[in-house]
Symmetry: C2
Subunit: 360 residues, 2 copies
Amino acid sequence: MSRLIAAGDVEDLARGCALLGAGGGGDTSVGRLMMLQAIGDFGPVTLVGVDELDPDALVMPCGMVGAPTVATEKFESGDEGARLRQEVERLRGEPVACLMPAEIGGSNGLLPFVWAARLSLPVLDADGMGRAFPEIPQVAMHLAGISPSPAVMTDERGNVAVFRACSGAWLERLERATAVEFGGSAASTEYCMTAGEARRAAIHGSVTRALGIGKLRLGGEGNLVDELVIRAGGFILLFGKVADVERRTSGGFVRGSVVVEGTGSDAGRLLRLELQNENLVAFEGGELRACVPDLISVVDVETGDAISTERLRYGQRVAVLGLPCDPLWRTEGGLGLVGPRAFGYDLDYQPIEELVDADR
Amino acid sequence: MSRLIAAGDVEDLARGCALLGAGGGGDTSVGRLMMLQAIGDFGPVTLVGVDELDPDALVMPCGMVGAPTVATEKFESGDEGARLRQEVERLRGEPVACLMPAEIGGSNGLLPFVWAARLSLPVLDADGMGRAFPEIPQVAMHLAGISPSPAVMTDERGNVAVFRACSGAWLERLERATAVEFGGSAASTEYCMTAGEARRAAIHGSVTRALGIGKLRLGGEGNLVDELVIRAGGFILLFGKVADVERRTSGGFVRGSVVVEGTGSDAGRLLRLELQNENLVAFEGGELRACVPDLISVVDVETGDAISTERLRYGQRVAVLGLPCDPLWRTEGGLGLVGPRAFGYDLDYQPIEELVDADR
């Protein structure tokens, strides 16, 4: 059942996407301004379920690729979505019927709405990750055997690049190098598919989920985080203060680590997060507390707003949350693509709920 | 008037292309083996003049982009030309009628024959430079206003990249980054055009010229170099010995410098060449002796074979030759694209014949 996403939904969507971004997907502050502007100029966007689309209708997943640190300063021109669509239509010889966030996390959950408003296209209530992941082939469509090619990239200057890569890993290399050349970030589309394919290949209800999470507003201090955790179905790993941030932008990624020092009843504890665009793992005293593909999100204890990895800084008072990922990622294929080993960690995946239970 | 390029022509063409490469365009040793193999397997290649083609026929300039040091070790699969042609035909919606060397220098003068033999296509007796230059937009077609886009790149694995860049400089950046990602070199095509456009936009007779230069064989010692210089219409800058080579491969280019110490009647003189894939400038005691776009080629005094920049090494007994470039490059537009300042040298272009006269 389709519904309209209007200006009044932008704040909720942005807050939900920020939490589901697990620190990544790009800071939502610029994205929410762009979305408000686009809806103001072109009207609200229709959100559709996959069953409302003709099975042959072409779905275009899209978003930004690159380092979020860059994307907060290097703005789009606004025409990127139109160029992606034009190139996809030229290559496929058929019209794009609707857009879809490649990832629901961070500003990448908002950008498809910016472009959809400008193009008068609907957005599919789905995404490729149910969160944000750093690398391009880390999407449900990849597991479902959808081809990422032809992938299209563009920048704010009007450059267009098309890739037909011989593997997902090669696509990642080629797009990342091009994003770096574009200045560190770029707009892109991969894994275009029919609505029929999207039915089995995408993660559904993502936009609705983000809206639901984002609806929560500040009630009483502390309670807000509890509410968030209940609403998102997750766990609180630690209440504390950011004690150390080490972060660098290289090779089209943000990498680094963050130390959160426990406060209040968590005083004396130290949680260390390691990140590559997203928060990947959480360790405490050498013990694993949470790891990809489960979501690790850092939220401001006073506002409940999730803080993206590039905005973390010394002294912030935060809660570190752990949320279970989509069940797809806990399969053998899913863990092969986005489990700890896919990021170079020599450790087996353990579900967040088991790690939290063991801790009690 | 078309003629056939057969196995017996390969050696001549390779020698001529090596000299016209001004040190660049890729070492010809692998190229000549590939060309012999392709002609052996698929038969000789037809060389055509532009007047023999229908004015609407599509001409595909092609070659390798990247660092020659890499290309001597990273071989092609042989299918690159077919993939370039297939992608160009898909993008343009019309058949490729003939290939053309993007540059007549080095192995890039031979590769189009390798691909043409395999594809049963003719090769146009023309090129984009009349020599070799390091950067992609440094071609006559660029001056003539032909669009470089859509440019297509491919590698030996089967990856394909298509670029529609907003300028020649952006195309250079994007292709160079992709070539680096492919391992340092890649096959590519840019500035596809009709034969009618090629008539005014390309440099004609390049293949015939290379064959003529390459025909010269060892007569008496010393005389050979004199003959070469007469045949190519150039000058001998110095007879000597390679005394020092500083060379590095970075960012998809070979860069560095070479010192040649005079011997015999040139004893006591020192010539310093600076290079970026090609030999760019020659200095002696701080004085300019030759510079781009004129050709600076280093030849082995015993065989008369030109030595590419990546093959130069201490102790080689060489003659350094200077050859005037195509008149196109001496125009204001030409010098803007390929003059000394285009390579970062703060000096005005001086024609080789004037520099040699001043030296006498």
